[in-house]
């Protein structure tokens, strides 16, 4: 099934408290060489029809309005399968 993957990450200049919490936990597990952790989201959107450039463009639009908030997040899109 054709699938579009949207990866969403907090912008570099925006504080990422979740990433910091994970960083702290990794440190406690002994991963003392970790410099930084940032946490994002991954969306896998499956389609029951052929992938077209128009469809990808619509996903891009959805990513910019719903899946990510461009004020605080960046996103990338790629097609799989």
């Amino acid at each position: 099934m054709p699938r579009v993957v949207v990866d969403v990450m907090p912008k570099p200049e925006i504080l990422d408290p979740q990433g910091k919490a994970v960083h702290g936990a990794l440190h406690r597990l002994g991963f003392d060489r970790v410099a930084a952790v940032r946490q994002g989201k991954r969306f896998e959107i499956e389609f029951d029809s052929e992938m077209t450039p128009e469809l990808v463009a619509r996903v891009e639009q959805a990513a910019g309005t719903l899946l990510a908030n461009p004020v605080i997040e960046d996103f990338t899109i790629h097609v799989e399968g």
Partner: protein, 223 residues
């Protein structure tokens, strides 16, 4: 004056917001997230809570609720709209207000009586306060850190659009201690603290929040 209070699935403070409206002398009108119109109300309150479970991002799904289309249209045309806590998050997600709210920098939920300063009374919702007045109202959030880029923050400060500021310590990492802001026109206000929980001394720490609801009644009478 009829003030609509929207209930989304997951709203918590719609009851208190409606009660605050009544105590201020207004008529509270219940609006439902699935409504396609605003029933002719003169102002709208988006209450606190966890709309749609706060899935994805706080306010991100509520932004696309049917009722938000007429709310956004009316807000751009000058209707007074107040977003409290989750309501503030919804207003930011809707781009009716700039910036965004992210998880508290200390990563814990904060619930306390919070000191605030009214930094602008040039809005529909703060006209009954003197600028510079200190108030105490409850604050309760997990994702109340106000963020925006430097340019936006400078613009808000320069145009006097920071409406409420935290004092006595920053409770959630909000940039420049910002607790609430307004749009350029002053009709749309969003804030993280809860004025609707501070309208009588039996249930709240003060009655300082009542004037926010009296403000909109007064602004309507004046216009």
């Amino acid at each position: 004056m009829r003030i609509g209070v929207v209930t989304f699935p997951g709203s918590l403070d719609d009851g208190d917001a409606a009660r605050a409206v009544r105590m201020a002398g207004g008529q509270a009108v219940a609006l439902w997230h699935g409504d396609a119109d605003l029933r002719g109300v003169d102002a709208v309150v988006l209450p606190g809570g966890f709309s749609y479970g706060d899935y994805l991002r706080c306010g991100a799904i509520a932004r696309f609720a049917p009722v938000m289309q007429p709310v956004a249209g009316a807000a751009r045309a000058g209707l007074p709209v107040l977003g409290i806590c989750n309501g503030f998050q919804i207003l930011c997600e809707s781009h009716l207000l700039p910036g965004a709210l992210i998880r508290n920098d200390h990563r814990t939920f904060v619930c306390r009586d919070q000191r605030l300063r009214i930094d602008s009374n040039a809005t529909a919702w703060t006209a009954a306060y003197e600028t510079g007045t200190e108030i105490v109202v409850p604050l309760k959030n997990g994702e109340g850190g106000y963020v925006a880029d430097e340019r936006t923050l400078d613009e808000l400060e320069g145009e006097g659009r920071v409406v409420v500021r935290y004092i006595g310590g920053n409770p959630n990492g909000s940039y420049r201690e910002i607790a609430g802001i307004t749009n350029a026109r002053g009709n749309v206000v969003g804030l993280m603290p809860h004025p609707e929980h501070a309208v009588d001394t039996l249930t709240g720490p003060t009655t300082d929040g009542l004037r926010m609801f009296e403000s909109v009644l007064r602004s309507r009478v004046a216009s």
